[in-house]
Symmetry: C2
Subunit: 226 residues, 2 copies
């Protein structure tokens, strides 16, 4: 919870508001594959305390058909995610690893945060940032080749998972090829072929299924054309 306070800069505001927020937050743990129970009444704001998750667009079709449930984004510890209720093109959050999170009703959260403009402003700035990142990514999705997308994805994961922005780096990918492809608008096969190419060129190695070693992040950045 201390991390949460830091994340939205409660220190700028009164401790009282923080306490109120803690009171309405639901503290939850998810096992890999678990989906955050959908609340159809209200949008929710989720603070991810630890672990990794994927944010899915909720496909239409009430029952089993999996027609068109796509990965919108991956989320890691420290992220604040908004999960919309069904009618408003709802989304859902599925754990990729063991995940600890705090869930708020968006309305309740805003009602309380309104008592502390600093908190509200911090959340606004965070969401404007998020908007910009998403816009940039959207632009890329429309104009990048498969190779650029994969290179960019790896660079981004290196940064978000182990904080590396240059040189060498090695980490476990919490998601499978299928989720990667889905989030980048590519097929599993194309993802795999790109990995193979990068491997042949010595930019990447994959000792196990989910472990990746990036031997030259700067070269990958160049490949990504970002």
């Amino acid at each position: 919870m201390a991390a949460f306070r830091a994340a939205i800069r409660f220190d700028q505001g009164s401790g009282e508001v923080a306490d109120q927020l803690c009171a309405i937050g639901e503290y939850l743990s998810l096992a890999p594959g678990d989906e955050l129970a959908v609340d159809t009444d209200d949008d929710r704001l989720i603070y991810i305390a630890s672990g990794a998750a994927k944010l899915l667009s909720q496909a239409r079709s009430g029952s089993g058909m999996q027609a068109g449930s796509h990965v919108l984004a991956f989320q890691f510890a420290g992220d604040i995610v908004s999960v919309l209720r069904k009618p408003a093109g709802g989304s859902s959050l599925v754990a990729l690893s063991e995940v600890d999170l705090i869930a708020f009703s968006a309305n309740q959260f805003l009602d309380i945060a309104q008592g502390d403009p600093a908190v509200l402003r911090a959340v606004l700035v965070k969401s404007l940032d998020s908007l910009q990142r998403t816009r940039t990514r959207m632009m890329h999705l429309g104009h990048q080749t498969a190779r650029q997308r994969i290179a960019g994805f790896l660079v981004s994961m290196a940064d978000r998972i182990c904080g590396c922005t240059g040189g060498k780096c090695e980490f476990l990918l919490p998601m499978g090829r299928s989720d990667i492809g889905d989030s980048l608008g590519l097929t599993i096969e194309t993802v795999s072929r790109q990995f193979t190419d990068l491997r042949k060129e010595g930019l990447v190695s994959t000792p196990s299924r989910s472990m990746v070693c990036l031997t030259d992040i700067d070269a990958l950045k160049r490949e990504a054309g970002t």
Copy 2:
């Protein structure tokens, strides 16, 4: 200015804050093709009072090279747009038609709005909505065919330009094929071919270069697969 007050729900707050905001807002008019002068010091929030504009991603490369300046979104009267300064993956706003707008320094705006949580909250909710729309669009960009993108684009323009969400509809597109293609991640030629196909199927007609008549918006929605 009255429209602006309504847009961000100043009525919920004190008139005083509205007055303060009006004081720091720059009221500007742009002719078609004009670019909003870039402010390198500070991010800006722009309220579009009338007209249409395109939001561009600022390509790197200081000088003339047009390498990679893409259309991120189209904006119409009533929209609030955030234009980021250079270092932060800057963006820029270019008028498509005669445009009237009000420009704020983001920081100044937030400093004042902080005095009125209701305003801050309204802007936050607007930006969370925007984020969700952008995410949804991003997902589509990754997974839709050219035909679906064009159909979706036309449906969206019908809604935003003349408020039509069904039946027949007729309006002037303020942007050329090139901007359309760019915003959808397609080439001019592909855009044109899709228009031709839709024309042959009687879903669309184009009496002049920039005029379009949609004969069946609902059918287009089905085509868009949204």
